[in-house]
Symmetry: D2
Subunit: 301 residues, 4 copies
């Protein structure tokens, strides 16, 4: 399959969707992003890389970081699963309701509460944001990937909800390090800026069932498959069922407008377009992935 030509076609097909939806506006640094951007990249398991549109333009990865921190935490063992569940939440990503009904154990690692637990876990092995940065730079081969300081400062100033989530879990003894430390590392992770090519290259180990670009193994076969399973059931906020239905691939979205998706055994895909739907997923991004699986026939179902 000529993926380069395919990406061109997809970019044409979804053009009417680009600019639709609303750019995240809870912090000024995100609100300023030009809504009509669109980029898409595919990193194949054999190392080939393809892209279209703004695929070399960095954007804020936000919650896409949660896939990588989960994988990094699992590379140290299964311990994190005693502190966070694996079920879809059925509620918005920053809801406290279930957390209360379920004694401070977040439903899954991709809602904010769960990602805070994963960060707390990863922090046993050094600053979680630094660990993540190092991994992303190594996988992508791009040493320039960094934290957007303006986004990080802005996030830190709008973190009361996450702070509430963290203290709430602390009240159930499900937070080991001091909340301000965990929150700081969490905010810096979310504020990393990357382009589609680098995200796709950093995520392709999940299509390779755990094997990194340098041939070493980050995760065992089962663990890697299971990260994909959690992405499928929990990766797109409370629209995971809809995403599985339309796209049929494990995927994780971020409010920066990015989505990363995995075709097991084949490739990782990253798409970026800042306009979000009501549930926080990129409108043009979902449409592009929908076209991608329709045209390739590569859904997992």
């Amino acid at each position: 399959m000529d993926l380069a030509a395919l990406l061109d076609r997809i970019a044409d097909d979804v053009a009417p969707e680009i600019g639709r939806g609303s750019v995240a506006d809870y912090i000024p640094a995100l609100a300023r992003v030009e809504p009509r951007r669109f980029g898409m990249a595919v990193a194949e398991v054999d190392g080939r890389l393809h892209g279209v549109g703004d695929w070399r333009t960095p954007f804020s990865i936000q919650s896409m970081s949660k896939v990588f921190t989960l994988a990094l935490a699992l590379s140290h063992g299964d311990g994190v699963w005693t502190r966070v569940g694996r079920e879809p939440s059925g509620n918005p990503f920053n809801s406290l309701v279930q957390l209360e009904n379920e004694d401070g154990i977040p439903r899954n690692p991709f809602i904010n509460a769960g990602a805070l637990v994963v960060t707390d876990e990863l922090a046993h092995h050094g600053d979680a944001a630094e660990t993540l940065l190092r991994f992303l730079r190594e996988e992508s081969g791009n040493a320039d990937i960094g934290i957007d300081a303006e986004v990080a400062a802005s996030e830190a100033g709008h973190a009361d909800r996450n702070r509430a989530l963290a203290y709430f879990m602390a009240s159930y003894r499900n937070m080991r390090r001091p909340v301000p430390d965990v929150l700081d590392q969490y905010v810096r992770q979310c504020s990393i800026a990357m382009n589609c090519a680098d995200v796709a290259r950093s995520a392709v180990f999940l299509a390779r069932h755990g094997v990194r670009n340098d041939g070493t193994r980050l995760l065992g076969l089962s663990a890697a498959k299971r990260v994909n399973a959690v992405m499928l059931t929990c990766g797109t906020y409370d629209a995971a069922g809809e995403f599985a239905y339309r796209v049929g691939l494990p995927g994780k979205s971020g409010v920066g407008g990015g989505i990363v998706a995995i075709v097991p055994g084949r490739c990782a895909v990253c798409v970026w377009s800042p306009g979000l739907d009501a549930r926080g997923n990129s409108v043009a991004g979902v449409a592009a992935l929908d076209r991608f699986t329709t045209l390739t026939g590569w859904s997992i179902f």
Copy 2:
């Protein structure tokens, strides 16, 4: 792969799990089932059939019927999706809470409320239980498949919760036919008795992306894949995330102790063992499917 030998090995491996858990006891006809039964069958897309243990013993399919009625309703078009969602519920299968918060639209077709809507929709085209029976007999080639009259009578006598769900949806105008009619058809669907071989043969059209055993098409490629997607995210009550994580296949369970799972492009699997875990899924059944995907490497992730 020698699936016959594989099934033998799985039966050995899961022997310690057989008899664990609790047999469904809300009606006497189910409570009487011998807990130490175990059967498993695989129907391949090319027609080959394999089995082990009690794979020729009929059991009550219960909620496994919901996969078939959904597929049959979708064979008439997409209309049902205006009346039922596609998101995991995050709540027990017969909960009313979300139904109230979401104006009488059930979260998905595999919780009881959603299946009542699907039955109501299918009933436009004739008695839904009869339609289902006809389909199951044709696909399995077993004309003896029937409704267990004792189970049906018993279910009808313990249907107050489902009756409440149906009237509740009626109060939101999401029930078209009279509640007693819909409930009667729903109860009879759940009371069908089948063996593992027949279930696997009846479900293999989902592995064949919509094509029935006689080569005709029940569903288009996309629609069939999408039924699989809904099974993955919503098929095992509030344990869908755990099932995706452990087994990695679309699956649908019933409180009779059966689970049907799909390996797209390859086969349908049906396993049966009556002991249920706290969430209503067969203990030995989940274990057997876990072994199956581990040994074959056939998870979708």
Copy 3:
């Protein structure tokens, strides 16, 4: 205090509120009511009766009936309290959420689910609607009080939500008689038409701590006080706190626009005006009771 003059003054004061809000429109028979009606009556414990405006015009008592059926059920003993609680619900009057979380035991006897239980309890001693009618006729001295057949028929045709509530409780074994029977009696109770004078005279036994107009005792001192307590905490749907705050009297409202309130030791008050606020309480009715307690100083606080 010259209550007749006082009522005239209140009618003047609240004139701007009359016609505000929305008339209940879920059934045609209620939707047709002229919104600009206003009546108010006071029945003193010594038998004196005062009124203003449309105080002799019958209206649909709806949920005000719940106070009387509770008192009648309690006249047979405390048994009903094993099947219904005494706490404010904090949720709309016909919500199923709490019922599910609390195993089919309604929070209090003034939400619909609780009133269905009270009806079921009262039905042990004969048809509950007939028992209620007999009591209301005796207390008011008005043998013409009856059930509005059009309202009753209309309610019966819009009872799916209440039917769902009743079957839901039945699934928890908290419904003793057949649901259709209980529902029929419940609907007829709510469909009784009375005027303000008759309601006030029928309720004054609660101001007399249980003693009826003929000097016999319906309830003991404690039981009567406790009905007042439940009215205060639960009598005005999810606005009970606001009503206690503004009016400071035990009161029970109905979607027909009536409110009955008790001044312990002094009198019962009934006010009627069909325009309802967002929580289902009469706008002009609450305003009139607010004026009444302000002018008389007769709040219980």
Copy 4:
């Protein structure tokens, strides 16, 4: 009525209840309290004071402080009501669920979230704990009333849940001052130690409809009555309906085992016994108030 003799009789009557229930144990300083303590005091509107048992022994007032801070906040005007509701919560005192559903506006000023808002409001006029201390010393005439430093330190070390509540409200812009400041003032209020006599004398202005012991007015007639109304509907956590039913007086409890209740126009009562029921109210305290209203006939109903 000979209140001194009455209190002796009540102490005898409730003796079997003393020591029942569980002493609050979330902080060591409270867990150490001797469970078999019992004291009760009545402060009449004319200044007479009566007591029995341990009525001169200081204890931790905890949530009873919320009544006084509400009254002090209202003495500056009605502004606080734009930030907190007046409805019973129907949920435990430190729940976050409703807060989320209702956009960060707490249901009432007596759940923790609401009291944090009241503290934030009162803090406009100086340190809220100091303001409260000054008021309590003036009303009781006891200059020795102070903050228990050990309790305060202990509370501050177990405040993650309250910290979560405060940051959660901050995320809805319903917290004006920095969370750490508000929390510090809140913790010190709750850690005040007082005896029954001093609490009763400090609360009797609510029985005098707003007039303090020195004849000056803290609150207008309406405002004072309304504080009583909020106490009745919301003062005893999620047992307010039960307390109204059994006791029939406005009351506010604390997990230190104290309860303060108001008989409008007559007196304030404070009872203390550390054993708590499942909902956090003193077992012997509720029993004593129940006896008190039964023997005096002074319920408000």
